[in-house]
Amino acid sequence: MELFGLLAPAVIVVILVTGAVRGVDIAAEFGKGAMEGLNTAIELLPVLLLVVTAVGFAYRSGALGALGELLEPILSRAGLCGDVVPLALVRPVSGSGALAVYSSIIGELGPDSFAGRAATVLMGSTETTFYTIAVYYAATSLKPGRGVFITSLTADAAGLIFSALTVRLFY
């Protein structure tokens, strides 16, 4: 598994070496790209502030934990743990919300706890489904049919159900 620690450095080296070989002005192009990244990040900041506060309310009051415990008996049947429920609920709706919930889960329970790992897998293998569908269909003059929601949410549900299984399988 430690091999994957090499992934990020390897990707960086491959990109830079290929860039150098192909005669790309690395510093200039990197700067332009990083600027775009910074602009996107800055656009994200105000909403993130608000969402983290809201999530902090729900999370630190213990309400989300209680919700997880409430659903625990049902979920443990499927091998899931209640701690990822808040993430599963927020994930399809809001990207910044999911980010806030995810970072509080791995912050409070530890990134390498079972819940932390399940949350990691869930976070990485699902998307802000409703947002994506809305934005993508907004580019067309069509309206998303029911089938689009059914199929995408099926994939999300599968992602949630399999997340615990995946964690057991890999660790």
């Binding site: 213990g62 806030a100 790992r117 569908i133 067309t140 089938g147 994939a155």
Partner: protein, 211 residues
């Protein structure tokens, strides 16, 4: 989004009142902004680094190469598109960007692909499959998550790469099966000939609201 925000705050307030513990809530109100800024710093730094690197990768032709590699897969999933159509190209670029964990770069390609799909008058099934490709979030390099895990103190932050990939492929497969089931009468591909009749009503979902 409004509903989500209000719900989160309201259940937090109601629950802590009911539990008789308001101190944690006032603490949350006080230091949440600072937490948000710390979180943002982590994410923003990763976003800058990887957006910069990906621009270099694009200029070096690496992204184009990856696009070529994913073409066969795209052809399989979006089967009523001509292989060299602009829709296919945009879809491939979109998928490649997602694969590299670049949601921001993926979006413009995704929107272009949707426009082209509409112009090409492709089936609902193809559109649903394309949306699914985006929402299933298949990633080779989930850099944001690795960064967040490292920031939370994990000694092995990148051991999540394989599980994440595995899980998203699994959920993508389930989604594709759902696509086959929902849109089966129209254009069912050779998925074991498992055609379940679900009344061919989906074609009506087209909505030509003149714009």
């Amino acid at each position: 989004m409004n509903i989500l925000l209000v719900t989160l705050c309201a259940i937090g307030l109601v629950y802590s009142l009911a539990a008789g513990d308001v101190s944690s809530l006032s603490l949350a109100a006080a230091d949440s902004a600072e937490n948000a800024l710390k979180l943002w710093l982590t994410v923003a730094a990763a976003m800058m680094l990887w957006s910069g690197l990906m621009r270099v990768a694009e200029k070096a032709g690496i992204v184009d190469r990856l696009c070529q590699t994913v073409r066969p897969l795209m052809r399989l999933l979006l089967r009523d598109l001509p292989p060299e159509s602009p829709a296919m190209k945009a879809a491939a670029m979109n998928f490649t960007s997602n694969l590299l964990g670049l949601g921001n770069a993926a979006l413009p390609f995704g929107l272009r692909a949707m426009k082209e799909l509409e112009t090409a008058r492709c089936s609902q099934r193809t559109m649903a499959a394309f949306i699914l490709l985006n929402t299933a979030s298949v990633q080779l390099v989930p850099m944001n998550i690795i960064t967040l895990r490292a920031a939370a103190g994990s000694p092995t932050p990148s051991d999540c790469v394989l599980p994440i990939l595995f899980n998203s492929l699994l959920s993508l497969t389930c989604g594709l099966l759902a696509v086959c089931a929902v849109y089966s009468p129209a254009l069912s591909p050779g998925k074991g000939g498992k055609i379940r009749n679900k009344k061919p009503r989906e074609e009506r979902a087209w909505n030509y609201s003149g714009s």
